[in-house]
């Protein structure tokens, strides 16, 4: 047996490929921008729902601290929507025809940057609003217990911190993968073994 035979085995695989007609290609290519527009529209609708709910809270809730917390949360939702718009409307470079490893690296870098910056543009804007809102809910109670404090402040804080840490770790793993792309095979093995060990040790 030789590699000619293994290639023949592979190329004899029936891919059941039926090319699209040119008319269909033209139509689908024109529809592509509509798909992106609809996806963005869904994100904006979700954002506006949050803004409307918290604007209703401003009017409905009884104490000022809850009203201010609601206003800050609605403002944070608007800020995050603006960030989403700004980031998704940046023109993407025509990268499909670049060398495969460069394309892979560019994808990983984009993903790493997005994960690494989640804390600053996605989580941080919501912290003041949620902090005031949680504090207001505590103040509303007759008796503040340790349990209610943990539930109203500790739990949201832990969720925020957990999301931030998960994203930071994912960004670090991507950075190691990016670094490994330009190393010699023996170094790649060492870098990836380090990564596997760290994943095993992670809780």
């Amino acid at each position: 047996m030789n590699d000619r035979q293994i290639k023949t085995v592979w190329q004899d695989s029936s891919s059941q490929f039926q090319p699209m007609s040119l008319g269909e290609v033209h139509m689908r290519a024109a529809q592509f921008s509509d798909v992106v527009r609809k996806r963005n529209l869904r994100e904006y609708i979700a954002g506006y729902v949050i803004v409307l709910v918290f604007c209703f809270y401003i009017w409905f809730l009884p104490i000022p601290i809850l009203k201010i917390g609601s206003a800050l949360t609605a403002a944070a939702a608007l800020f995050v929507m603006w960030q989403l718009h700004r980031r998704s409307s940046k023109p993407q470079p025509e990268t499909d025809a670049e060398a495969i490893v460069e394309h892979y690296r560019a994808n990983l870098v984009r993903e790493r940057d997005m994960l690494a910056s989640v804390g600053s543009w996605y989580l941080a804007p919501f912290i003041p609003g949620f902090a005031l809102f949680s504090a207001g809910k505590l103040i509303e109670r007759d008796h503040i217990t340790l349990g209610s404090a943990l539930l109203n402040i500790g739990l949201p804080a832990a969720i925020f911190a957990g999301i931030w840490l998960l994203n930071k770790n994912a960004a670090r793993r991507l950075q190691r993968r990016i670094d490994a792309l330009y190393l010699q095979p023996v170094d790649v093995e060492r870098a990836l073994n380090t990564e596997a060990l760290e994943e095993k040790e992670a809780p």
Partner: protein
């Protein structure tokens, strides 16, 4: 010089005639599910047609088509299988499952295809692409040009792939 839509159409038809079946196999190597594979295949064809608007003939049609197809495949993996990415490995780290009988015969075609897919599916995009281009019978130089990996590194990785196949099958791994 940018292509007109007529040029795009001609290049697309030429690419489909020459590399259509290879595109089908590439899509199968990125997505096992038949329905999702069909979507990926349509996405590949639309991306290819759109890309011809900027095709400047500085590289061959073959290089262009394989770059577009594999780059789309990479984006697909990163988008659809983000969680599975940490389970993928480089060819240097791949080990055949120890519970499989070895060596097997290439005369059992289904078995041979399944074994090749098993290795390919476990690889990170750059190594997966090198092996797929090797299986499509591209030369080391062509693979290096398409991937951007040095010819020496390509040869080392293909050699490792052949060694795995040799352990799996009664396979000599002769020169290309």
């Amino acid at each position: 010089m940018p292509c007109t839509q007529g040029d795009q159409d001609k290049l697309f038809e030429q690419a489909m005639a020459q590399f259509g079946q290879a595109l089908g196999r590439i899509a199968a190597a990125y997505e096992a599910d038949a329905e999702r594979r069909l979507d990926l295949l349509q996405d590949l064809q639309i991306a290819l047609w759109r890309s011809f608007a900027s095709y400047d003939r500085r590289c061959s049609l073959k290089t262009w088509v394989f770059r577009i197809a594999h780059n789309r495949g990479t984006s697909y993996i990163l988008r659809q299988k983000r969680m599975a990415l940490s389970r993928l490995c480089n060819i240097e780290d791949y080990e055949l499952p120890s519970n499989q009988p070895c060596p097997e015969s290439l005369t059992d075609l289904q078995n041979a295809k399944a074994a090749i897919h098993q290795i390919i599916d476990a690889l990170h995009p750059p190594d997966r692409q090198i092996m797929l281009l090797y299986l499509e019978d591209l030369s080391g130089t062509e693979i290096a040009q398409i991937t951007g990996v040095s010819a020496g590194a390509v040869a080392t990785k293909i050699s490792r792939f052949k060694a795995l196949l040799a352990r799996k099958f009664a396979f000599s791994g002769d020169a290309q």
